[in-house]
Structure formats: structure tokens, C-alpha cells
Symmetry: D2
Subunit: 334 residues, 4 copies
């Protein structure tokens, strides 16, 4: 009961619309899955997000060059589409903003990308810029923790003097599922609230505030501890179900380190088994379980950030992919 109430105050920690809505996959080729979500004001309000279009690109791995190139092509195609849908013209001035903290590996996606995008605005000012390039500015405003300034206020004032026609903002996001970390790109024209996903909500950066299109590009690089705990509970069920089914299967007796998830679909755990395994917890819905875990971890300050071990390497590749994708999209000549 109280849980239900709390759930409203304590939204699930994710920046991905795909994790909060029913949705249909638009295409799924070459291991790259694309999903469209269009949130109306009402739907958006329900899940505490902003209305707008959300394009979600899911992939397996971008550490190898070939895979990365494939994802990059899809990414810039989708970015181009959303830019056109927002009536942005080929000569419009673009301001690219890299949110996040360049000193914290999983939060450095924004600043790293900024350091790799092509900046041209000053060259136009000095008059030495050739055909086929768009005017582009880029900035990493830093995090409030080290500037003392509300990032969205900073952006708001900047746009007044700079007068960009549209903004692309890049940020590391939070996912509520470990399976999506570093394996998802979300593109949306609904803007962004810096750090909203990891629970310290700041004022938003959006068309409502700035009166120009704000296209946000994000990749989940963290999940919070509560998410990994509730995920683990679900894995427990699959694991348990798998074990039960294979109890007399000599093969699994030998190989214990089997990836039972692959069998997850076949083996559904029964309600009574869930309860047998996990008691009261076993009777709770996913949402209630998650909410309970937030209630347990937050007050004692242990709802930490979860990050894969090779994060620094992956972030470097992701920033390369996104910066190149943006360069190709913004400049005809490239």
C-alpha cells in the first residue's frame, strides 16, 4: 500500500523512455534494433518524462570497428531524420552541448564527444570557411558540483547571445537495466534534465525553456544499485527455474557456468515457486520490488552507481561514434 504511494514520489531511475512504456520495434536488422516512441503530454506526464519523439537504437557491441561503423551509420541516419522533422535548415547554427563530468569516467561521454566534434563557427567569423560546412559551436559547461552554477541557467543565457537555431545535447544516461548499459543510444527532441536519471534532478534544457529545438543524444553508462538488485532477483528466478528443469540433466551437472538466460524463455517460473524461493519478496510485482529496494538503499546512502569494468575504453569508442555521426549529419561536405 505505502509502496504504491511511494512509487509515485520515487520514480524508477532511468533516462530511457523505452524502459517506461509499451512500445513496438520498428526494425531489427544486423543485430541493431530501432524503436520509435511518441509521447503525448498525457503519456509523458504519467511516466515523469517530457512529451516528444524518442528513437532508441539498441546494439550488442561497438568495441570492434566493423560493428561500430554499422551503428554509426544507423545513428546518423536517425539523427538526420529527427533534425529534419524539427524543420532545421541546412544553414542553421548548431550549438552542441556536452553535459557531464570529464573527470568521472562513466559521466564523461558529453565532454569527450565535444572534444571530438568539428567546430566551425569562429572560422565563419574569420571568413575562411568553405562550402558544405554548417556553423557549429560546442561547449562542455561542466557539472554544478564543480562550477557552482545551475547548468540549465548557464545554457539559457548562452543561447541569448549566441542565438543558435537548434541545440544538440549529449549526456551519459542512467538505465534501469544492466542489459542496456553501453548498448543503447536514445535520440529525442524532448530535451533533457541534466542528471535526472541518477537522482539529482536539475532544471531542464528543452524547447519549452529555450524556444528552439533541443535534440538530446544519450547513452546509458550506469545503472543504480537498486536496479542491479532487482535485476538479480529476476535472474534468480530464471536461474532457479533453469536448475529445477535441468535437475536430472547430466550435462548441466558438469558445466555449472551455463548461461541460463538463453533458456529463460523456455522456462517460466510459477507463482508458488517464486514465493517458495523468495517469500514475501517473491509475491511483489517488479515495480514494487524495485520501489522497496529504493526505500531500503536510499535512506542509508548506498544506492551507488554501477558501471562495467572496461568503461573507460567503451566510453572512448562511444564518444568517437557519436562525434563522427554528428559531424556527418551536420556537414554535407563530410
Amino acid at each position: 500500500m505505502e509502496h504504491k504511494i511511494d512509487m509515485k514520489n520515487e520514480p524508477i531511475h532511468t533516462d530511457l523512455a523505452i524502459e517506461l512504456t509499451k512500445n513496438e520495434v520498428r526494425s531489427n536488422e544486423d543485430g541493431i534494433k530501432i524503436t520509435d516512441i511518441n509521447l503525448s503530454k498525457e503519456e509523458a506526464k504519467k511516466i515523469n518524462k517530457k512529451e516528444g519523439n524518442y528513437i532508441t537504437i539498441e546494439f550488442d557491441d561497438i568495441t570492434d570497428y566493423v560493428a561500430r561503423k554499422k551503428v554509426k551509420t544507423v545513428f546518423s541516419k536517425e539523427l538526420k531524420k529527427i533534425i529534419e522533422n524539427n524543420k532545421i535548415k541546412k544553414d542553421d547554427l548548431c550549438l552542441i552541448i556536452g553535459l557531464g563530468n570529464d573527470k568521472s569516467t562513466p559521466d564523461s561521454l558529453g565532454p569527450l564527444t565535444i572534444s571530438k566534434v568539428l567546430v566551425t563557427n569562429h572560422l565563419f567569423l574569420y571568413g575562411d570557411m568553405e562550402e558544405g560546412f554548417r556553423r557549429v559551436c560546442a561547449i562542455s559547461p561542466g557539472v554544478t558540483g564543480s562550477t557552482g552554477i545551475e547548468t540549465s541557467d548557464l545554457i539559457k543565457e548562452m543561447t541569448k547571445s549566441l542565438k543558435p537555431n537548434f541545440i544538440i545535447v549529449i549526456d551519459a544516461l542512467a538505465s534501469s537495466s544492466v542489459e542496456r548499459v553501453n548498448k543503447t543510444i536514445q535520440i529525442t527532441d524532448s530535451g533533457i534534465s541534466p542528471g535526472s536519471g541518477i537522482g539529482n534532478k536539475r532544471k531542464e534544457i528543452s524547447k519549452d525553456i529555450l524556444n528552439i529545438p533541443v535534440i538530446a543524444v544519450g547513452v546509458p553508462t550506469v545503472v543504480d544499485a537498486a536496479s542491479i538488485v532487482s535485476d538479480t532477483i529476476n535472474y534468480m528466478y530464471s536461474h532457479f527455474a533453469y536448475q529445477k528443469e535441468n535437475i536430472d540433466n547430466p550435462k548441466t551437472k558438469l558445466t555449472f557456468n551455463v548461461n541460463y538466460l538463453k533458456y529463460g524463455n523456455k522456462t517460466k517460473i510459477k507463482r508458488e515457486d517464486r514465493q517458495k524461493l523468495l517469500g514475501i519478496i517473491g509475491t511483489l510485482s517488479d515495480e514494487d520490488t524495485k520501489t522497496l529496494i529504493y526505500e531500503i538503499l536510499n535512506p542509508i546512502g548506498y544506492n551507488m552507481m554501477v558501471t562495467p569494468k572496461e568503461e573507460d575504453f567503451v566510453i572512448d569508442k562511444l564518444s568517437e561514434l557519436i562525434s563522427e555521426g554528428i559531424n556527418e549529419t551536420l556537414h554535407e561536405k563530410i
Copy 2:
């Protein structure tokens, strides 16, 4: 049963001796707790560690200057002691090694510390070094993932030409409890195995291998996902016990975000309650629970690294504390 067997193959992921042994606190003043552990060959073998002396300094917070200075004083006093116990003379040449990856925030403690320690050896070579300073070399060998080289082999050969009289090696460690992350310094003369704590064991760096004293200084900066899950289960018990006890306490009705841990001692959960709450899981010992969770997360590759949100800031302060502590200990003049 199988769990028991597995437990041997799958050690609990921690680099802290204090988390693997019964031990007695030596002193507890000013919120700084010091524990001595002396592992014999046999005891060490049991817990898959190396024999030797382990000094563990536990504290609450080092982000504020005054607290940090206090911890630094204790740290260099204890470091001095272990150096003397190892019969190291005041003119002995010291090689300081910073293990870890400077591009990955929670793993950058070693390289960051190296960048701040006082290096003097070359000044001695050039003859322009005053009294009261010891010969010190320092290096960050990088991680195998980016060098392709087994770090311990690298160190082994280096010592052959450099001929240091002793080594101080600094590394970020893994803890099996979130409560110790960034709040513990372990000093030991048993050496270290790079990355052992986070599950990719490498050859060790120790007196057995190098025939000179190797003093390892480490701070846990990560816990793995399995640890946070099993910790959470224990918090569930405290939380549940607290709720049950305070069910009719009007105060707690209002303030839900109460830190129930403070009441943890008062309220012990009963065995039947554990089972009621968590079914079969509720019947397992802590060790078995943890082992089960490893079995669940490892095969599917989701036993990720958990790190506090402000890690970059804390690591910077920790490296400052340790480098200054080492400088004061190694050089009379400072």
C-alpha cells in the same frame, strides 16, 4: 552442498583481510579505527590471501580538510611502523609503484598517487640533492589491458636493474561491503596481486617473488554487484525488523526516510521472519547467499563494478592523502 564446493572455487571478491578474518580493533579514537591482523601461512591459505601483517585504518570521511589531515597522520605513523618492522634503513632506495588505470576513475588511485609523490633518485644521480631526503623512484606501469604485458613480470625485471631495497605499491582495491568503499586504508607487507580483488587475478608482487620487502597500500574504491546485492538483502532484514518494531510508532509513520541502520543493533530479525520475508534465500547463510549470487551474475556477465557517485573527487583527495603521507614517512626533511 554444491554451494559449499563452489565457494572454494569462487572466493568472495575482496582485497581486505579484515573482511575475511575474525579480528580485534587495536584502537578507536576520533572516529578512526585501527585493526591489526597477522596471518600465518596456514590462516592465509584458508582465506586465499598471503601471510603477513595487515594494518587496517577505517574512517568516516576524508573530503573535509581537517578529517583528512587526521587520517593522514595516522596513516603515515602506521606506514612508518611497518617499514621499520621490515628492517628498512633510512638510506634505503624505495621504488613506489602505482598500479591501475589512470583512465578509469575508480582504478586511478595508483597512477594519481604516483603523480604526487616526491621523486628524488635522478637528483641523487646528478648530485644535487640535500640532506634529509631518501632516494625514491616511482612508476605507473599501466594495466595489462593497455600494455599487453604482465605487470608483475615488468616489475620483476625493473627491480633487477634498479635494485631498490624495498617497494611501496599503491592500488585501488575491491571490498565486499559498500560500507568500506573509500573509507578504509589497508597497509600490508604481504605484497599484492594486481586486480585480484576484482576477479581477474594476475601474478603477485611480493617479497617471495622479489626478495625485498613489498609494502602494499590500498583503498577499496569498488564493490562488485554481487556484494551490493547480498548487502541489500541484509539491509532488507534490518529494514523489515525496524518496520515491524515501529509499526505503531507514529513518528516513523511521518518520516519514512529514516536511517534504520542506526537501530540495527536493537532489532534482530528472527529466523522465521527471515524465511517469511525471503523464502529459501532467507534460510541461507551470508556466505551461501553471496556465493549463490555470484553463480547467478557471473555466467551472464553482469557482475559489474559498483562505485560511489562522487568517486572522481574522493579519489583525488585519497591520492593526496596517501602521497603526502608517503612523502612524510620516506623523507626526514619533510
Copy 3:
């Protein structure tokens, strides 16, 4: 003649008022020299600088801890004075701006200092700030070359939302003399023009523009090639004069690597000797020589930046000195 004309178009490349005006040393103790310059509108115009007060602190070396501490004490005393002269109150909000490029060693003084100053503004917002601390924000806006944005415009808009009561801006400067590089701190309430010293003038950051006091703190970290050439010509004279005088001095026959500058005062070179040594060039005034060299190096694009070899180390120490000095000045509690 033409030189004279050109000289007006081609100002000498320096950000230090002390290098452009007659001035009197206020104090000279402990190897730390302090000079006050007060430029009226007229005087300022003549030398292409802004009117205001310039405090110049000259010292020998800050790489050693004791020397650095001395300079720091002098620096924060002088900074406090200029802050008080500008009627800044103890509760006034301060915005600290670090100009320059953190990726270019000699230009990274500003960003490096920012990363070390104490930022408190957000803590006041969240209400958890104790007595004795001032509200401080800090930002490194980056360089136009990588943002595409005119830095002064950026600052101008930021101040509109942030409404600081005064600004401290830190920047690496250019000197026209190698002897001052890394050995001078200039504090002025006349503001600054980013990059003016190294010849790519930008719009200024000053009280005239922002209507609040702007205190600029700078250290020369570069000289341009033309300066080092003309300096060298002067050294040629001293060297030549010294040689001539000591031609029969057996001591100097043996030790060739003598620092003749120490004898510079004793030995003045005669006009005819200058001409004998350097022909027409020997007849030119310092100013004309410098101007001629600009004419020679600029059109072929070889007026490069000159930097000492250990710059990265010195910059680190300088940023430490300045950040600590600022922290002590801005916060009573420190």
C-alpha cells in the same frame, strides 16, 4: 621611418604593464619585488592597455615549497588589498573564470587553477554551508578555437543570470622578456582581453563591459620568438662587453660558461662597439629592433611561442599557488 609607422600597428607583444611603463618598486624583500602601477585613461591609451591599478609581484623560483609559500602569502595579501579597494563586501558572490586551453601546457594556467579553487555557490543553494565561507562559482569557458564562441560574449551572458558581484579571471600571459616567464604575477582591476598578449586579440572582459569589478590575475608563461631574438641581441652586447673587458683575465679563459649577466651593470657597451658588432642593427633602438624582427617573422608565420622546458611542472605549482591564495583571500574560514 616605416618602422615608426609600423610600430603603432604592431604593438610589442606583452600583457605586463610593467614592461610598458616607467615604474617604481614599492618593496623588495626576501627576493620578492612588488611594483604598483596606476594607469590613467591617457597613459593607458598610449600603451594600448586599460586604465586601472596593476600590482606586479616578481620572484625567482616557486618550484621549492618554502619559496612558494612566501610568494603565496604576498599574493593573497595583495589580492585582498585590490579586492577591498574595489569596495567588494565579504558576502559578495564571486565568479572565478579560468581562461585558456587545458590541452596546451603553457596556456592551461586558468583551467588548472579553476580545478583547484573551492566552489561553494551550489552548497549555499542546498543550504548546507557553514559560516566563514563566501559564495563562489567557477568556470573554464574554453578557447574560441574549440568552442567557436567569443569568450567575452559567453561571460557577458553568464553574468546576466548568475549576477556575481565581482569576477576574478585567471589567465596565462605573454611577456616580452624571457626573464619574467613564470616569475611574475600581475594583479589588476582593469580586466583582461583573452589572448591579447599572444597577438590574437579578443573582446575584453572588464568593468566597462560587465558593470562589476573584474580582477585579473595573470602569470606570463610564454614569450614570442621576436622577443627572444631581441633579448638575445641585448645579451650579445653584454656578452661582448664582458669578453672585451676580460680578454686578458686568465680566470675567464678557463671557465667559459660564466654568467656574464651578473657583470652586466659593470660593463656598458659603447655605441661604436654595438655598431661594430651588429652593423645597422647595432644602431637601432630596442623598440625599433623588436619591431623589425616582428616584420621579419610575422609575414612568414614563424613568430612562435617560447616556453621553458619544465613548463608542465611549473604550471602545476603556479596553479596550486594561485588557487590556494584565492581560497585564503575569499573565505575567512580558511
Copy 4:
């Protein structure tokens, strides 16, 4: 006279063989010039270099993508050639060493390149490496100033355990001419002496010492102050000659900022004019002039490092070019 003597003690500061020997251009296409130098023991001794083959690639600009790609293709073709000439087989283990200081922009070429080369050795150890890749290790040993260790000793011991079949060492070099800075790649099988070019000679890294081929790849990123002064004196002559010739040319009256170098060939300055312009200095040979300037700048510690203003950007591009060139050369699959 004394100059002659001194000249032997005081070699001209350059790491480029091309600046110390007569040589013939092998090819000059597309603005990319390739020169071969083969130094015998005797010739090498005369110019204080090591015997061996030196391939010098000179180009104009690599900041634009197309130009960079052209130079990269030439570079990896030449690197492949020198590798084959040294009888290195396709499965031989390669150790890549990045010399220099990652904290000092013009000296960071080595470490930056290392961070971008493909490292595979550990993958072979773990058995998950596909066909078409060579075993490669890479390390940035740091500079003696921050490690306290003689870099060549470090390398020597490393090779004993690692047993590479050959070494590729990358380092930022010094040139004695501003015109070559960032516009030259030298590939040689004669090895290298860390920091030799900028006057603090260290023990060499070469086949003589290590008994395996050592291929050094270097780019001049600095010239010392003495070089720029003597270059300037030569520009003075061209400038003077140009002026004299065009004294009555109305065009040059108007456009003063003309690049007189382009006319340099046409206009040779006469001996008497040199003397008229620069007196005694005008009578000295280039070599003597340079040596004199060293005598003037060294004893007073002002022989600083000269670096172009955009160095950080250029270094990033150069390290990209070299790392990609090396990857293509070492791995058939790429």
C-alpha cells in the same frame, strides 16, 4: 677559433639527420618529400649520430583530413620497408615504446601515440586472438624527471622478460629549423637517445644495447631558442636583400606584409651587405653564428623551447597519423 673548439663540445641541437648531412631527395610528389640517408660508422661519428638508415618524410600540413591520409599512406609504406630491411618476420613480437612526457604538450607525442596503438599480446595469452594480427605490447615509461629512473635501463630490463623480436620507439624530436617543426617524420633503424635533441642526453635505446632491431619514429615538435635566433638572422638577410631589390617597386610599398622567402632564391645577399647589416656577426658562418648564440643563451639559462601556438591540436593529429600507420603496418588484417 674558440668557437670551432666549442662547436665540438656544443653540437647543434637537432635529432634530424637530414639537418646534419648532405643528402639527395629520393622522391617529391604531392607535396610529400622523401629523403634517404645511410650513415656509415665514420660519417655518423662526425655528426654525433648513430650509424644506420634514416628515412625522412617532409610535408606541408596534416591538419586537414585528406592531406593527413596521404602522409599516413607514405609513412606506413616507408615503415614497412625499413621493417622488412631489418629481417623482421610477420609473427615477430613487437614492443612499441612511447617516450616523452604526457603532461607537456610538445613532448607528449609518444604517450599519445601509445594510447592509440592496437595492443594484442595479452589477447594471445588468453587465446582469443584471430588470424592476421601480430603480437604487440606497448608502454609509456614516463620521463626520468618524474620516475627517477634512467629510461634506457628500464627498457633494457623489460626486454629481458618480454623478449620482443623488435622495438618501435616513438618520440617528439628537436629540429634546428622552425620550418620543419610538425612537418617532418624521421624513421630510422639506428635507435634513439631519449631527449638527446633538447640537450639532456640519456643512454641510448638501440640494437647495440638490446641486440634486437630498434626502429625509431620521430617528429620534430620543438626548436630551441638559439635555432630560432639564427634562423631569424638568415631571414634578416633575405628580408634585407628583398627590400633592397624592391626599394623602388611601388607594389611592395603598399603591401608590406609580403612573404619575402618566396623570393629568397632570386635575391642573394652580398658578403659586404651582410657585414653592413650585421657587423661582425655578419661575417660569421651559419655554424659559428649558431654556436655563438648557444654560448650566449646557455650560461644564463635562456635557451628555451620553441613551439607553435596550436601545438596541442597538431600533436593530437600527428599521434593519430602515426598510430594508425603503425597499426596498418604491423597487422595484415587491418
